[in-house]
Each structure stands twice: as C-alpha cells, then as structure tokens.
C-alpha cells in the first residue's frame, strides 16, 4: 500500500514540475482571483459614486479604480477577461496533462515498472477533475465569497448608507443563503471550465492515438474550439442547476455538449456508444495489442482516410528557388508546414461541420452565429501555433540554407503570416457559408461585419504573438503563447460583437505590428542554436 502512495506522489510530481503546466495553472488560479476581487471593488466604487462625494475619506480608493472603470474591461459578474484567461489556461493545462499522460503510458520504461497503470492514470485524472475543474469552482466561488462577505460588510460599516442601497431588498445580503447563491453562480462557471478541460482532454487524447494521421488533430481543433467557446457560464449555470436532479448530464461524453436538451436522447446515446468504442480501442492499444477498429464501414473509412492523407502530401517543387522572389521563397518554406492545400481542406471540413451545426443545437441563431465566430477566432491561431512552434527546433538547420539571416527571417515570417491569413480566410468563409445557409438575414447586420473586422485585426496581434513565441527559446513560450492567443482572439471578437468600437481592434493590430517588428529585430540577432 505504501509503495503505491509513493509512486502516485512521484507521478504527481512529474506533472507539477512541468513549467508549462505550472504557468497554465497559475493563470487559471491567479487571474480569476484578481478579477473577482477587482469586480467587488468596482461594485463598491460605483455605489460610492452614486452616493456622492461626501465620503471624502474614500476618495483615494476611487482615484485608483476610476481609470480601470473607464476602460470597462472587467464587467461585474460577467468578466470576459476572467472567462478568456480561464479558458486559455484550462485548454493549455488540459493539453499538457493529456500529452504527458500519453507519454508516460506509452513509454517502454514505464511499462516495465510494476504497477504502473494505476498511478499513471490516477494522477492525470486527479489533475483534470480536481485541480482544473474543481479549483476553478472553489477559487472562483471562494474569492467571490471573500469579496462579498468580507469587503462589503467592511465598507458597510464605514458607510452606513451603502447597506440600504445594496441590500435594499432586505437583509438577505448578510445571510448564508445569498452567499451560497452567489457562489453557485461561480460554481457554474467552474463547471464550464470543467467541461472545457474535459473536452479538450478527450480531443487531445484522440489525436495522440491517431498520430500517424496528424491532420485529424488539426481538424479536431476547430471542433474543440467550438465546443469550448460555447461552454459559457450562462449555459453552465443551467447545467449546475440540474446537478442534483439529472444524472444523465454526468455522462462524460455529454459534458462537452452541455446545452443539449433532454429530448436529444438519440444523440446522447450515439455519442456515448462511439465514445465507449473509442475508449475500448484506446485501452487495447495501451495494453499493447494493435487491434483494428471494429466498426461498421471500416473499409470505406480507411479508403477515405487514405485519400485525405494523399491530399495532404507536400507537392513537388519545380527547379531551384535561389533566384526567385521573396514570395516564392516564402511559399517554398511553407511546404513543410501544413501547405496550401491542407489549409483549404481544414477550412472545408470546418465549413461542413459548421454548416451542419443546427442539427446539433437548439439555441437561438444569434448565439449560434456568435459561437461560430468565436471558433473562427480561436481555431486558426491554434492550428498555426501547433504547426509552427513544432518547427522551432529545426530553425537553426533551416537557417543554413542559402539565404542571408535577414532574408531567412523575412521569408519564414512571411510563411507564418501566409499560413495564418489563409487559414483565417478559410474559417471565415466557413462562418459565412454557414450563415448564408441557415440565417441569411444576419448578413445584413452590422454586428457580423464589425466582428469580422475585429477578427481580422486580431489576427495581426496573433501574428505578433506567434513571431515572439517562435523566436523565444524558452519552454514556457508554447503554453504562454497559446493562452495569450486564445484570450486575445476570444476577447476582442466578443467585445466587437457586443458593440465595442473598432479602435480597440486597431490598437490590438498596432500592438501586433510592434511585437512582430521586435521579434524580427531580435530574430536577426539571436543565437539560433
């Protein structure tokens, strides 16, 4: 018994010591606390302002908080930064946990260690369930309760009128029930983080087992981005309300689609069955037996996969590019990445997925379009991130091809930009085609076009972040870059949807250009090895 505990502890430590994981968990935990505390302060600030300037002693506090209030980046009880950061952090953390779990389980050394399966599976499960899902709930709820139960009464003691203003509907504020209800709201948010993490975990797990067909992973990115974007706390609220009553919603394969209504029973069953088969196959693979998938239509599926595989082949280049122009050379450097055809295939499959969405959803078309836009915001950035950050280790080798350092940096940068631009274009087309099919009236809405404009400008910022991440040689660059990318994309598109001015998008684009220029300058001077 004792040895197993030790082994579990050792396995947990391998996760905890991973710097990427530590950074992601820090983001998940720290930013929500900060946001919730500032949200509480903003509430107080607004109230004080409403009461007038008689309370001079409180003026320094207002002075601090005022500029932030004007920026309106943090909305009471509806914080987009909170959501985006937690989303980004949990996605990255989930990816890292699953990836490490897979590495450990498939490692030959681990297999020869006695009793490796138990701790090897238990540790990532603990991480996923307790640390990622539950931590979000408890920290969020706890922070809110601290703000509510701690700060507010303190202010009320100093400013007696506040009590009347806030708690005008009775002395409810000071009762436990109110605290619990507020905490409940944040528990719901935590649940949405849980669903996000678990979805990502399932997708990454699926990808890692079909590594030979790497493009499956790239296609899964828009799908999982879509699901994560829709795990809003508003919807999660609904889920949380159902917890004591409806066991069906605890099926792990359902959690990803947490807003499916109860009359979607056939869908639930289908997803569960597919999931169970998949898990069975995964288990067989881990146990060392290479079993072919025993599903109906296995042969046509195999042929289709082989065809898609062949279309992802790198095309043959014609002749030497030494004398070609910059654009040709950049295109040549793209060949090793996902290449042009692959971009459009990913875009095409995303279109099909988005075009068939209404079969899956029963929500109103407004939020459906919004969720499609969110996907288009997150997915290209993630795909490009995954493909290009994987090429970092071979940059030194590539830099010795005939080209000056400056030319090499320029061409590689152009290649990243071209990949990003094409993939964004492909996903935007997917959104538009989906809209044209199902809700053509939305095309005339300004909201759609301003959001698309913001999306385009956001991609400039994304490019800047990518350029810096590719240049940097630290291992934390990948997780941090991914978190930033998700936050930035999601945040700006959401705000544009809700009517923020285009100037925000322009500021983001300018920041992106500055980052790209800085990365370019540093890249030309950096040690590449």
């Amino acid at each position: 018994m004792r040895k197993r505990d030790d082994r579990l502890r050792q396995v947990m430590l391998t996760y905890l010591r991973r710097p990427g994981l530590r950074w992601s968990v820090a983001v998940i935990l720290v930013i929500p606390i900060f946001c919730i505390l500032s949200v509480a302060s903003f509430d107080i600030a607004k109230t004080i302002r409403a009461l007038g300037w008689e309370y001079r002693s409180l003026r320094p506090f207002l002075f601090l908080v005022d500029p932030l209030l004007r920026l309106q980046f943090v909305w009471p009880r509806n914080s987009t930064i909170l959501f985006s950061a937690s989303l980004g952090g949990s996605v990255v953390a989930a990816v890292l946990v699953v990836w490490q779990a897979r590495q450990q389980m498939f490692d030959a050394n681990a297999r020869l260690t006695p009793q490796f399966v138990g701790p090897g599976l238990l540790a990532p499960a603990l991480f996923m369930v307790f640390l990622l899902a539950t931590a979000g709930i408890w920290i969020g709820a706890g922070a809110w309760m601290l703000a509510d139960a701690g700060l507010r009464p303190a202010w009320c003691l100093r400013v007696p009128d506040l009590n009347v203003l806030w708690y005008g509907y009775g002395p409810r504020a000071t009762t436990i029930q109110y605290q619990l209800e507020a905490a409940h709201g944040y528990a719901a948010q935590g649940m949405s983080l849980a669903s996000t993490s678990l979805t990502v975990a399932l997708m990454v797990g699926a990808w890692s087992t079909v590594r030979r067909r790497w493009w499956i992973g790239l296609i899964l990115v828009p799908v999982s981005a879509f699901i994560c974007a829709n795990s809003e706390f508003v919807v999660g609220f609904r889920l949380a309300a159902w917890i004591p009553y409806d066991w069906r919603h605890w099926s792990p394969f359902f959690i990803g689609f947490d807003y499916l209504d109860t009359d979607q029973l056939p869908w639930i069953i289908a997803i569960d069955v597919v999931g169970l088969i998949g898990l069975g196959w995964l288990w067989a693979r881990m146990a060392g037996r290479d079993e072919p998938l025993k599903i109906p239509f296995a042969r046509p599926a195999a042929i289709a996969m082989a065809w898609i595989d062949s279309t992802f082949q790198v095309r043959k280049s014609r002749g030497s590019i030494m004398q070609s122009g910059v654009w040709n050379r950049a295109r040549h450097r793209r060949r090793i990445g996902i290449d042009q055809r692959a971009v459009w295939i990913i875009g095409g499959l995303t279109t099909i997925f988005m075009a068939t969405l209404p079969f899956w959803l029963r929500t109103d078309h407004n939020s459906e379009l919004f969720s499609r836009l969110s996907t288009a915001a997150i997915a290209p950035a993630l795909v490009i991130c995954l493909v290009w950050l994987g090429r970092r280790s071979s940059l030194a080798y590539e830099s010795l091809r005939p080209a000056t350092r400056v030319a090499f940096v320029r061409e590689t940068g152009l290649a990243v930009l071209a990949d990003l631009a094409e993939l964004t274009l492909a996903t935007v087309l997917a959104v538009l085609i989906g809209t044209v099919i199902w809700t053509p009236t939305m095309l005339s809405r300004v909201q759609l076009w301003t959001s698309l404009g913001a999306l385009g400008l956001t991609q400039v910022l994304v490019f800047g972040i990518l350029a810096e991440a590719i240049r940097s040689r630290s291992t934390a660059a990948l997780p941090l870059a991914t978190i930033f990318l998700i936050c930035a994309s999601e945040l700006l598109v959401v705000r544009a949807w809700n009517g923020a001015p285009m100037s925000e998008g322009l500021i983001a684009a300018i920041i992106g250009v500055i980052l790209a220029a800085h990365a370019y300058w540093r890249w030309c001077e950096a040690d590449l090895a």
Binding site: V314, A396, S399, R401, P402, R405, D527
Partner: protein, 307 residues
C-alpha cells in the same frame, strides 16, 4: 601538399574565439585554421565544446569576441552564395517526421542552385533508403544517414558534420566513411567532422584538431602526432627514482623498477641515456589515437604510492 591557408581561401577560420554559456566559458581565445582539401577531425571530450565551436563557426551562434570566417566571409553575415557552398549535418537531427524522404530531398534540392540528383539517388539506393518512407518512421541511424545525404547533395566545398557516425552501425559507418572519402578525393573540397570514434578518424582524417579546455591544444597532421608521441616501457635492474624525467614527457607512472612514460618528441639519444643511467631496457610502444586521446587528458601522476 596543402598550401598554407590565407584568409581568402581558407574554408574555415576561427581567430581568438570566446564563447561563454550560462556563465561558463566554453571557448577560450580559440584559434583554428582549416586548409583546403583536408579532412579534419575535431576531437574532444564530451562537453568540451565541439558543438559550440561548430555552431559559432557556421554563424548559428554569435561568439562573445573574436571572429569566425567561412571562405573569407564573416560567419555571422554569410550570404546566399557562400551558404550554397556549405553543407552541415547537426548532431541531433530533427527532420520533419510527416514528410516522406523523396519530399524532403525535393524540398532541400530547391534551395540550391546546383543539385546532383544522380549522386543523391545513388546514395539513397546504396544506403537502402526508400523515397516513400516517412521520415518519422525511420530509426535514429537511418535519419542520420538521410541528414548526411541531404548535406551532400549540392556538392558543398565545405562539409561540416557534428558527430555524424554516433548512431550508425558498423556497416553504415563504413559506407559513410567511403562517402566522405569520395568527397575528400577532390582536392578542392574540405571535410570537418567531430567525433568520438577515433578509429574512424584514423582511417579518414589527415589532420586532427584536439579541443581541450576551450582551446585547440593540437592542430596538425594526424600521422605526425602518432609519430611523435610514444609510450616508453622502462624496465630497470633496480628501483627507479620518483623524479625520473625525460625531455618531452607528458605523463609518467613509476612503480618500483618499472616505469611507463608517455613521451612527445622523444629521441634515440634520450632513450639510450635512460638505458645507460639506470641500466634499464626501454621498449617503445606506438599509441593508437584512442590511447593518445586518453594520455593527453590524464593528469600527471607523480608516484604510484601517493595515490
């Protein structure tokens, strides 16, 4: 046989190179001059800085001070024409695992103005690499072979290899050496490779650069090193003194009436003197490169008893 290299025609030249890495000085005022047409072996302990030296020489890393030039041009700002005359095989090859070998060859070929497709085809066939295989499915040794082929396809004038044979089995290693010799037979092409495998160097290299403590402690012909450093086995009639010394002794080990001396540049006269003075017999042993390497790295041991 090799003209003395001037700055303009020297394929690789390092002058007073300094490089520190995380507060540790890896290269310390290092000087190295490679002659055209030679096959130079770079030998050094693990962690001696061979990879750092190569990377600074090729312009991948920037030295703290000093200069590195390739074909007379500064390594940091190499232009495309010079890079087209350069071939590099890194120590850890990170090939793109989803690409097929044929595609990798195509991709690499397009970068260079002249590419010998026939040579590459021959090498792929001789080394048993199929164009349809995915690079990610290959074993480490096969990946290394592929990296070597990719570096030789454009017939570079300077071929730099960082531990190229580390993962190769003996057959593959022999094939690799033959390929290097084919390059070496052309007097205008230079090969520099760093390795631990001294037997490969003995076969193929004509010059040796020994890297120790951040400096090149020997830069010259391999044969000359072998000719000049020998091990003397001294057997005397009576006990030998602890301070037994010979001009040029690198390493001494004295145990009673027997002594082992590693002597550099030892002459017949000094040998006869020892024989006379201590009424001993001296047997001269030739040292292989591996032994030489070990000898040049061991610290002096004064006396067996003091250990």
């Amino acid at each position: 046989m090799n003209e003395s290299p001037t700055t303009e025609n020297s394929p690789l030249r390092l002058a007073r190179l300094d490089k520190s890495y995380r507060k540790k000085k890896v290269l310390d005022k290092l000087d190295l001059n490679i002659a055209i047409g030679s096959v130079v072996g770079l030998l050094g302990k693990n962690g001696a800085g061979k990879t750092t030296l190569i990377k600074c020489a090729l312009g991948l890393m920037r030295p703290d001070s000093g200069e590195a030039t390739i074909f007379g041009k500064s390594a940091w700002t190499l232009d495309a024409e010079t890079k087209a005359r350069l071939g590099y095989v890194p120590q850890s090859v990170s090939l793109y695992s989803w690409m097929r070998i044929g595609q990798l060859v195509d991709y690499t070929a397009a970068f260079y103005p002249k590419w010998n497709a026939a040579l590459v085809g021959d090498l792929l066939r001789d080394w048993e690499l199929k164009a349809d295989d995915k690079a990610g499915n290959l074993s480490v040794g096969t990946q290394q072979k592929l990296a070597i082929i990719l570096a030789m396809g454009h017939e570079p004038d300077l071929l730099v290899l960082d531990e190229p044979a580390a993962s190769l089995d003996p057959i593959a290693r022999r094939q690799f050496l033959k390929a290097v010799l084919a390059v070496a037979s052309d007097q205008t092409r230079t090969v520099v490779f760093s390795t631990h495998i001294t037997s490969d160097l003995e076969r193929v290299a004509d010059r040796l650069a020994l890297l120790r403590d951040g400096r090149i402690v020997y830069d010259g012909e391999l044969d000359e090193l072998k000719d000049s450093v020998k091990r003397w086995h001294v057997t005397a009639a009576g006990a030998l003194p602890a301070d037994l010394d010979v001009p040029g002794a690198v390493h001494r080990r004295i145990e009673g009436a027997e002594a082992l001396l590693t002597v550099r540049g030892g002459t017949q006269e000094s040998r006869e003197e020892i024989e006379r003075r201590y009424s001993a017999s001296v047997r001269v042993e030739d040292l292989s490169l591996e032994d030489l390497f070990l000898e040049l790295h061991e610290e002096e041991v004064q006396h067996a008893e003091t250990r």
